[in-house]
Protein backbone atom coordinates (compact mmCIF):
# COMPACT_ATOMS: atom_id res chain seq x y z
CA UNK A 1 0.00 0.00 0.00
CA UNK A 2 1.13 3.49 -0.76
CA UNK A 3 0.52 4.59 2.80
CA UNK A 4 3.11 2.17 4.11
CA UNK A 5 5.76 3.03 1.54
CA UNK A 6 9.05 4.29 2.82
CA UNK A 7 8.85 8.04 3.18
CA UNK A 8 11.46 10.20 1.56
CA UNK A 9 12.15 13.85 1.99
CA UNK A 10 11.06 16.06 -0.85
CA UNK A 11 13.91 18.45 -1.50
CA UNK A 12 14.78 20.97 -4.18
CA UNK A 13 17.69 19.84 -6.27
CA UNK A 14 19.55 20.80 -9.42
CA UNK A 15 18.82 18.92 -12.62
CA UNK A 16 20.69 19.26 -15.90
CA UNK A 17 19.03 19.60 -19.28
CA UNK A 18 20.36 16.75 -21.43
CA UNK A 19 18.13 17.10 -24.48
CA UNK A 20 15.49 19.47 -25.79
CA UNK A 21 13.06 19.19 -28.68
CA UNK A 22 10.17 21.22 -30.02
CA UNK A 23 6.91 19.29 -30.17
CA UNK A 24 5.05 22.21 -31.77
CA UNK A 25 6.15 25.82 -32.37
CA UNK A 26 5.20 26.66 -28.76
CA UNK A 27 5.69 23.38 -26.90
CA UNK A 28 9.09 22.03 -25.91
CA UNK A 29 10.16 18.78 -24.28
CA UNK A 30 13.15 18.93 -21.93
CA UNK A 31 14.96 15.77 -20.92
CA UNK A 32 16.60 16.09 -17.52
CA UNK A 33 19.37 14.32 -15.64
CA UNK A 34 18.31 14.32 -11.99
CA UNK A 35 20.91 12.91 -9.57
CA UNK A 36 19.36 10.42 -7.17
CA UNK A 37 15.97 10.43 -8.89
CA UNK A 38 13.94 7.87 -6.93
CA UNK A 39 11.86 6.83 -9.95
CA UNK A 40 8.35 7.91 -10.76
CA UNK A 41 4.97 6.56 -11.71
CA UNK A 42 3.16 7.32 -14.95
CA UNK A 43 1.03 10.42 -14.43
CA UNK A 44 3.08 12.01 -11.64
CA UNK A 45 4.52 15.49 -11.87
CA UNK A 46 7.40 17.55 -10.58
CA UNK A 47 7.75 21.12 -9.36
CA UNK A 48 10.11 23.56 -11.04
CA UNK A 49 11.40 26.64 -9.21
CA UNK A 50 12.99 29.65 -10.86
CA UNK A 51 14.66 32.17 -8.58
CA UNK A 52 15.45 35.69 -9.75
CA UNK A 53 18.57 37.57 -8.71
CA UNK A 54 16.52 39.56 -6.20
CA UNK A 55 15.35 36.35 -4.54
CA UNK A 56 11.85 36.30 -6.03
CA UNK A 57 10.93 32.69 -6.73
CA UNK A 58 8.24 31.27 -9.01
CA UNK A 59 7.17 27.63 -8.76
CA UNK A 60 5.19 25.62 -11.29
CA UNK A 61 4.13 21.99 -11.44
CA UNK A 62 4.71 20.06 -14.67
CA UNK A 63 3.56 16.59 -15.59
CA UNK A 64 6.35 14.12 -16.24
CA UNK A 65 6.20 13.22 -19.92
CA UNK A 66 8.21 10.02 -19.74
CA UNK A 67 7.37 6.57 -18.46
CA UNK A 68 8.96 5.08 -15.35
CA UNK A 69 12.46 3.91 -16.23
CA UNK A 70 12.89 6.41 -19.03
CA UNK A 71 14.91 9.61 -18.54
CA UNK A 72 12.91 12.25 -16.69
CA UNK A 73 11.27 14.63 -19.18
CA UNK A 74 8.78 17.45 -19.01
CA UNK A 75 6.83 18.97 -21.87
CA UNK A 76 6.18 22.69 -21.46
CA UNK A 77 3.74 24.88 -23.34
CA UNK A 78 4.92 28.45 -23.74
CA UNK A 79 2.46 30.93 -22.26
CA UNK A 80 3.33 34.42 -23.46
CA UNK A 81 2.42 36.09 -20.17
CA UNK A 82 3.82 33.27 -18.04
CA UNK A 83 6.58 33.66 -15.47
CA UNK A 84 8.21 30.28 -15.96
CA UNK A 85 7.27 28.74 -19.31
CA UNK A 86 8.92 31.42 -21.51
CA UNK A 87 12.21 30.68 -19.76
CA UNK A 88 11.84 26.90 -20.02
CA UNK A 89 10.89 27.03 -23.69
CA UNK A 90 12.94 30.00 -24.89
CA UNK A 91 16.01 30.44 -22.74
CA UNK A 92 17.07 27.13 -21.27
CA UNK A 93 19.82 25.34 -23.20
CA UNK A 94 21.24 21.84 -23.12
CA UNK A 95 23.73 21.67 -20.25
CA UNK A 96 21.91 24.33 -18.20
CA UNK A 97 20.68 23.45 -14.75
CA UNK A 98 17.21 23.79 -13.36
CA UNK A 99 15.88 23.55 -9.80
CA UNK A 100 13.18 20.93 -9.27
CA UNK A 101 11.65 18.59 -6.74
CA UNK A 102 9.68 15.42 -7.25
CA UNK A 103 8.14 13.20 -8.21
CA UNK A 104 4.88 14.27 -6.59
CA UNK A 105 1.26 13.16 -6.86
CA UNK A 106 -0.27 9.78 -6.18
CA UNK A 107 -3.82 10.21 -7.48
CA UNK A 108 -3.56 10.76 -11.21
CA UNK A 109 -1.32 7.74 -11.77
CA UNK A 110 -1.55 4.42 -13.56
CA UNK A 111 0.46 1.21 -13.29
CA UNK A 112 0.12 -2.12 -15.06
CA UNK A 113 -1.50 -3.69 -12.00
CA UNK A 114 -4.38 -1.20 -12.23
CA UNK A 115 -5.46 -2.89 -15.49
CA UNK A 116 -7.96 -1.48 -17.95
CA UNK A 117 -9.57 -0.80 -20.27
CA UNK A 118 -8.37 2.77 -20.23
CA UNK A 119 -10.04 5.88 -21.54
CA UNK A 120 -7.70 8.87 -21.77
CA UNK A 121 -9.15 12.29 -22.56
CA UNK A 122 -6.78 15.18 -23.22
CA UNK A 123 -7.32 18.86 -23.76
CA UNK A 124 -4.27 20.62 -25.23
CA UNK A 125 -1.12 20.00 -23.20
CA UNK A 126 -3.19 17.79 -20.90
CA UNK A 127 -1.90 15.04 -23.15
CA UNK A 128 1.46 15.02 -21.34
CA UNK A 129 0.70 12.73 -18.36
CA UNK A 130 -1.50 10.58 -20.61
CA UNK A 131 1.45 10.02 -22.95
CA UNK A 132 3.43 8.79 -19.94
CA UNK A 133 0.61 6.31 -19.24
CA UNK A 134 0.60 5.03 -22.84
CA UNK A 135 4.37 4.62 -22.72
CA UNK A 136 4.14 2.81 -19.41
CA UNK A 137 1.62 0.41 -20.88
CA UNK A 138 4.05 -0.40 -23.68
CA UNK A 139 7.10 -0.69 -21.43
CA UNK A 140 5.33 -2.93 -18.95
CA UNK A 141 3.93 -5.23 -21.63
CA UNK A 142 0.41 -4.56 -20.40
CA UNK A 143 -2.40 -5.59 -22.72
CA UNK A 144 -4.91 -3.14 -21.22
CA UNK A 145 -6.60 -1.59 -24.27
CA UNK A 146 -6.49 2.20 -24.50
CA UNK A 147 -8.79 4.61 -26.23
CA UNK A 148 -7.67 8.22 -26.27
CA UNK A 149 -9.60 11.31 -27.28
CA UNK A 150 -7.37 14.33 -27.76
CA UNK A 151 -8.80 17.81 -28.27
CA UNK A 152 -6.53 20.43 -29.83
CA UNK A 153 -7.10 23.70 -31.68
CA UNK A 154 -5.43 22.67 -34.92
CA UNK A 155 -3.42 19.71 -36.21
CA UNK A 156 -0.08 21.56 -35.82
CA UNK A 157 -1.00 22.10 -32.15
CA UNK A 158 -1.14 18.34 -31.54
CA UNK A 159 1.73 17.37 -29.22
CA UNK A 160 3.50 14.00 -29.79
CA UNK A 161 1.57 13.58 -33.02
CA UNK A 162 4.03 11.23 -34.75
CA UNK A 163 4.27 9.07 -31.65
CA UNK A 164 0.52 8.96 -31.10
CA UNK A 165 -0.10 8.11 -34.75
CA UNK A 166 2.43 5.28 -34.55
CA UNK A 167 0.58 3.35 -31.87
CA UNK A 168 -1.19 0.14 -32.89
CA UNK A 169 -2.24 -3.01 -31.07
CA UNK A 170 -4.72 -1.87 -28.52
CA UNK A 171 -4.09 1.88 -28.53
CA UNK A 172 -6.59 3.93 -30.54
CA UNK A 173 -6.24 7.72 -30.69
CA UNK A 174 -9.04 10.01 -31.91
CA UNK A 175 -8.55 13.73 -32.44
CA UNK A 176 -11.01 16.59 -32.10
CA UNK A 177 -9.77 19.76 -33.81
CA UNK A 178 -11.73 22.72 -32.51
CA UNK A 179 -10.46 25.70 -34.49
CA UNK A 180 -9.22 24.68 -37.92
CA UNK A 181 -8.88 21.48 -39.89
CA UNK A 182 -6.63 20.52 -42.80
CA UNK A 183 -8.33 19.72 -46.11
CA UNK A 184 -9.81 16.25 -46.11
CA UNK A 185 -9.83 15.97 -42.30
CA UNK A 186 -11.82 12.93 -41.28
CA UNK A 187 -11.53 13.25 -37.49
CA UNK A 188 -13.82 15.24 -35.23
CA UNK A 189 -14.21 18.91 -36.06
CA UNK A 190 -15.83 20.28 -32.91
CA UNK A 191 -15.18 20.55 -29.19
CA UNK A 192 -15.62 17.37 -27.17
CA UNK A 193 -19.27 16.77 -26.38
CA UNK A 194 -21.51 13.99 -25.10
CA UNK A 195 -22.09 12.49 -28.54
CA UNK A 196 -18.40 12.29 -29.27
CA UNK A 197 -17.65 10.72 -25.90
CA UNK A 198 -20.43 8.19 -26.45
CA UNK A 199 -18.76 7.16 -29.72
CA UNK A 200 -15.20 7.00 -28.42
CA UNK A 201 -15.60 5.85 -24.84
CA UNK A 202 -15.85 2.27 -23.66
CA UNK A 203 -19.35 1.27 -22.63
CA UNK A 204 -19.75 2.05 -18.93
CA UNK A 205 -20.42 -1.65 -18.32
CA UNK A 206 -16.80 -2.46 -19.17
CA UNK A 207 -15.79 -0.42 -16.14
CA UNK A 208 -12.94 1.47 -17.74
CA UNK A 209 -10.44 3.53 -15.80
CA UNK A 210 -10.65 7.09 -17.01
CA UNK A 211 -8.04 9.83 -16.92
CA UNK A 212 -9.05 13.33 -17.98
CA UNK A 213 -6.44 16.10 -18.12
CA UNK A 214 -6.76 19.57 -19.55
CA UNK A 215 -7.75 23.14 -18.77
CA UNK A 216 -10.26 23.45 -15.94
CA UNK A 217 -13.31 24.12 -18.13
CA UNK A 218 -12.48 21.22 -20.43
CA UNK A 219 -12.12 18.80 -17.54
CA UNK A 220 -15.38 19.92 -15.94
CA UNK A 221 -17.26 19.39 -19.21
CA UNK A 222 -15.78 15.99 -19.97
CA UNK A 223 -16.12 14.63 -16.44
CA UNK A 224 -19.75 15.77 -16.30
CA UNK A 225 -20.59 14.17 -19.65
CA UNK A 226 -18.92 10.89 -18.68
CA UNK A 227 -20.97 10.65 -15.51
CA UNK A 228 -24.00 11.34 -17.70
CA UNK A 229 -23.00 8.34 -19.83
CA UNK A 230 -23.13 6.15 -16.73
CA UNK A 231 -19.48 6.23 -15.68
CA UNK A 232 -18.90 6.00 -11.96
CA UNK A 233 -17.39 9.28 -10.70
CA UNK A 234 -14.98 7.20 -8.64
CA UNK A 235 -13.37 5.76 -11.78
CA UNK A 236 -12.97 9.11 -13.51
CA UNK A 237 -9.71 10.70 -12.40
CA UNK A 238 -9.23 14.32 -13.28
CA UNK A 239 -6.35 16.77 -13.39
CA UNK A 240 -6.79 20.43 -14.20
CA UNK A 241 -4.11 22.84 -15.23
CA UNK A 242 -4.14 26.56 -15.65
CA UNK A 243 -2.90 29.09 -18.10
CA UNK A 244 -0.69 30.97 -15.68
Amino acid sequence: MEGTALQRRLTWQAATVTAAAWETPSVRTLELAVPGWPGHRAGQHLDVRLTAEDGYAAERSYSIASAPGEPVAITVERLEDGEVSPYLTGELRIGDTLELRGPVGGYFVWAEADGGPLLLVAGGSGVVPLRAIIRQRRRSGSDAPIRMLYSARTLPDVIYRDELDSYRNGVAVSYALTRARPPGWTGYARPVDAGMLAEVAWPAGEEPLVFVCGPTGFVETVAGELVGLGYSPGRVKTERFGGI
Binding site: M1, E2, G3, T4, Q7, R9, L10, H45, L46, D47, E59, S61, R101, G102, V104, G105, G106, Y107, F108, T216, K237, T238, E239, R240, F241, G242, G243, I244
Partner: protein, 87 residues
Protein backbone atom coordinates in the same frame (compact mmCIF):
# COMPACT_ATOMS: atom_id res chain seq x y z
CA UNK B 1 -11.12 33.41 -11.09
CA UNK B 2 -9.43 30.35 -12.52
CA UNK B 3 -9.38 27.37 -10.21
CA UNK B 4 -7.25 24.26 -10.35
CA UNK B 5 -7.44 21.07 -8.30
CA UNK B 6 -5.49 19.34 -5.57
CA UNK B 7 -3.03 17.82 -8.04
CA UNK B 8 -1.56 21.30 -8.43
CA UNK B 9 -0.43 21.41 -4.79
CA UNK B 10 0.97 17.89 -4.54
CA UNK B 11 4.47 19.23 -3.90
CA UNK B 12 3.33 21.79 -1.35
CA UNK B 13 1.28 19.19 0.54
CA UNK B 14 4.19 16.74 0.52
CA UNK B 15 6.37 19.52 1.93
CA UNK B 16 3.86 20.14 4.74
CA UNK B 17 2.73 16.61 5.59
CA UNK B 18 5.93 14.75 4.72
CA UNK B 19 4.09 12.31 2.50
CA UNK B 20 1.99 12.06 -0.63
CA UNK B 21 -1.42 13.59 0.14
CA UNK B 22 -3.30 14.06 -3.15
CA UNK B 23 -4.61 10.49 -3.00
CA UNK B 24 -5.69 11.01 0.62
CA UNK B 25 -9.39 11.21 1.34
CA UNK B 26 -10.79 14.35 2.95
CA UNK B 27 -14.17 14.46 4.64
CA UNK B 28 -15.62 17.95 4.41
CA UNK B 29 -16.48 19.62 7.71
CA UNK B 30 -19.28 21.57 6.03
CA UNK B 31 -21.17 18.93 4.03
CA UNK B 32 -19.70 15.60 5.13
CA UNK B 33 -18.81 14.43 1.64
CA UNK B 34 -15.66 12.37 1.15
CA UNK B 35 -13.36 13.04 -1.80
CA UNK B 36 -9.75 12.73 -2.82
CA UNK B 37 -7.68 15.78 -1.99
CA UNK B 38 -6.72 15.76 -5.69
CA UNK B 39 -10.34 16.48 -6.57
CA UNK B 40 -10.74 19.57 -4.37
CA UNK B 41 -11.02 23.06 -5.82
CA UNK B 42 -7.73 24.94 -5.46
CA UNK B 43 -7.13 28.67 -5.71
CA UNK B 44 -3.41 28.86 -6.24
CA UNK B 45 -2.67 32.52 -6.71
CA UNK B 46 -4.47 34.19 -3.84
CA UNK B 47 -2.40 35.52 -1.00
CA UNK B 48 -1.77 31.94 0.04
CA UNK B 49 -3.41 28.78 -1.26
CA UNK B 50 -7.12 28.18 -0.64
CA UNK B 51 -8.70 24.72 -0.94
CA UNK B 52 -12.48 24.32 -1.19
CA UNK B 53 -14.84 21.34 -1.30
CA UNK B 54 -15.95 20.48 -4.84
CA UNK B 55 -19.35 19.42 -3.54
CA UNK B 56 -20.36 22.36 -1.33
CA UNK B 57 -17.58 24.95 -1.92
CA UNK B 58 -16.94 24.96 1.82
CA UNK B 59 -13.54 26.22 2.87
CA UNK B 60 -11.32 23.20 3.67
CA UNK B 61 -7.74 24.35 3.83
CA UNK B 62 -5.79 27.60 3.84
CA UNK B 63 -2.03 27.58 3.46
CA UNK B 64 0.00 30.75 3.83
CA UNK B 65 3.74 31.13 3.94
CA UNK B 66 5.02 33.59 6.51
CA UNK B 67 8.76 34.24 6.76
CA UNK B 68 9.45 30.89 5.12
CA UNK B 69 7.11 28.91 7.38
CA UNK B 70 3.94 27.30 6.06
CA UNK B 71 0.90 28.14 8.18
CA UNK B 72 -1.84 25.57 7.59
CA UNK B 73 -5.49 25.93 8.62
CA UNK B 74 -7.23 22.56 8.24
CA UNK B 75 -10.34 23.41 10.25
CA UNK B 76 -12.64 22.81 7.26
CA UNK B 77 -11.63 19.16 7.03
CA UNK B 78 -13.32 16.81 9.50
CA UNK B 79 -11.19 13.75 8.70
CA UNK B 80 -8.08 13.39 6.56
CA UNK B 81 -7.20 9.79 5.78
CA UNK B 82 -3.91 8.90 4.09
CA UNK B 83 -4.13 6.80 0.94
CA UNK B 84 -4.61 3.14 1.63
CA UNK B 85 -6.81 3.75 4.68
CA UNK B 86 -10.51 3.87 3.96
CA UNK B 87 -12.31 6.19 6.37
Amino acid sequence: METLDGNAIAGLLYEIFGEEMTAATAICESCGSAASVADSVVYLRLPGVVVRCRNCAGLQMVITRVHGLNCVDLSGIAVLEPPGNTP
